[in-house]
């Protein structure tokens, strides 16, 4: 038997799942702020409600707290950045790498092809 939800429009992936992970761990916003080394819990609320994006140091601290890679904690943001990188990689792919040795140019093309063909990370945080 197959269930089909095709009559519903697919919604955008959420920028992050910080709130889900915090609720799972039963930590309060104040406690997470303390762990992140941030003074106020209101910043945490802004991150969790998608009003603000954390910096790299905070993102890595989140990874240390919830034991999940940053790309899984911020899948929507990751997908958006990945799309932009792919678009730029496609532009770079069409450039001629003049002045490079053939081996170097081949290596570059291979690296760019890998970026362009990379699959978007699926949601694997339900664990």
């Amino acid at each position: 038997m197959e269930f089909i939800h095709t009559h519903f429009m697919a919604s955008k992936q959420l920028p992050n799942y910080l709130l889900s992970y915090r609720k799972r761990s039963a930590l309060s916003q104040g406690e997470v702020a303390f762990l992140l080394g941030i003074r106020s819990g209101s910043k945490i609320s802004h991150y969790e409600r998608f009003k603000r994006e954390p910096g790299l140091q905070t993102a890595l601290a989140y990874e240390a707290i919830y034991q999940k890679p940053v790309s899984e904690l911020f899948p929507g943001l990751f997908e958006k950045i990945q799309r932009e990188v792919k678009a730029r990689a496609k532009i770079l792919e069409h450039r001629t790498f003049s002045g490079n040795m053939i081996q170097v140019a081949t290596r570059k093309r291979k690296a760019l092809a890998t970026i362009v063909s990379a699959e978007a990370k699926s949601q694997s945080t339900q664990s």
């Binding site: 197959e2 089909i4 939800h5 429009m9 697919a10 889900s20 609720k23 949601q123 339900q126």
Partner: protein, 168 residues
């Protein structure tokens, strides 16, 4: 059994009661995104409706799953029925689909028969989502003690999960 869904279906389950509302946001493959309960004082309906509005704005759900209160046998208070009607109107304004399930449908969906209690369904859900709900399961409700407001949260999860499982 196979489920075919668009990549991201997001369901907002809302369970209204005399105390306030329970809510649960779920995505396909039964991923619990947000859950909790909101108790209202004063104008309960206005407060609860405002909270539902915030959830809709934040999560942009495709579907809102609610309890059917118009069916025979439903004993929901008029205020709760009015709140549910207001949520339905809000969903229509936001062009969000609404699915309503009766308590019997929920019991039949989660238990082997439709005679189980809300607590039986909550037990099932606590086992299904141990990390999220396992430690929040309230004690069984007795005649002498009011029902724990966390039970609204379990009802909301049941509504959202039932929608995702039924594939309607």
């Amino acid at each position: 059994m196979k489920k075919l869904c668009p990549k991201h279906i997001r369901v907002l389950g809302i369970a209204a009661s005399w105390q306030g509302i329970g809510f649960a946001v779920m995505e396909n493959e039964s991923r619990l995104v947000d859950w909790g309960s909101k108790r209202g004082n004063g104008d309960k309906n206005a407060r609860c409706l405002s909270h539902v509005g915030n959830l809709v704005a934040q999560y942009a759900p495709n579907v809102i799953a609610l309890e059917s209160t118009r069916l025979e046998g439903s004993r929901r208070h008029l205020r709760v029925q009015s709140l549910i009607d207001q949520i339905v109107r809000m969903a229509e304004e936001e062009k969000i689909k609404v699915k309503r399930f009766s308590r019997k449908e929920l019991s039949a969906g989660f238990l082997s028969n439709d005679e189980g209690t809300k607590h039986d369904v909550a037990l099932h859900l606590a086992a299904r989502f141990p990390e999220e709900l396992g430690f929040r399961l309230p004690r069984k409700h007795t005649l002498l003690v009011n029902e724990d407001c966390r039970m609204d949260m379990f009802d909301a999860v049941a509504l959202a999960e039932h929608f995702l499982r039924s594939g309607e």
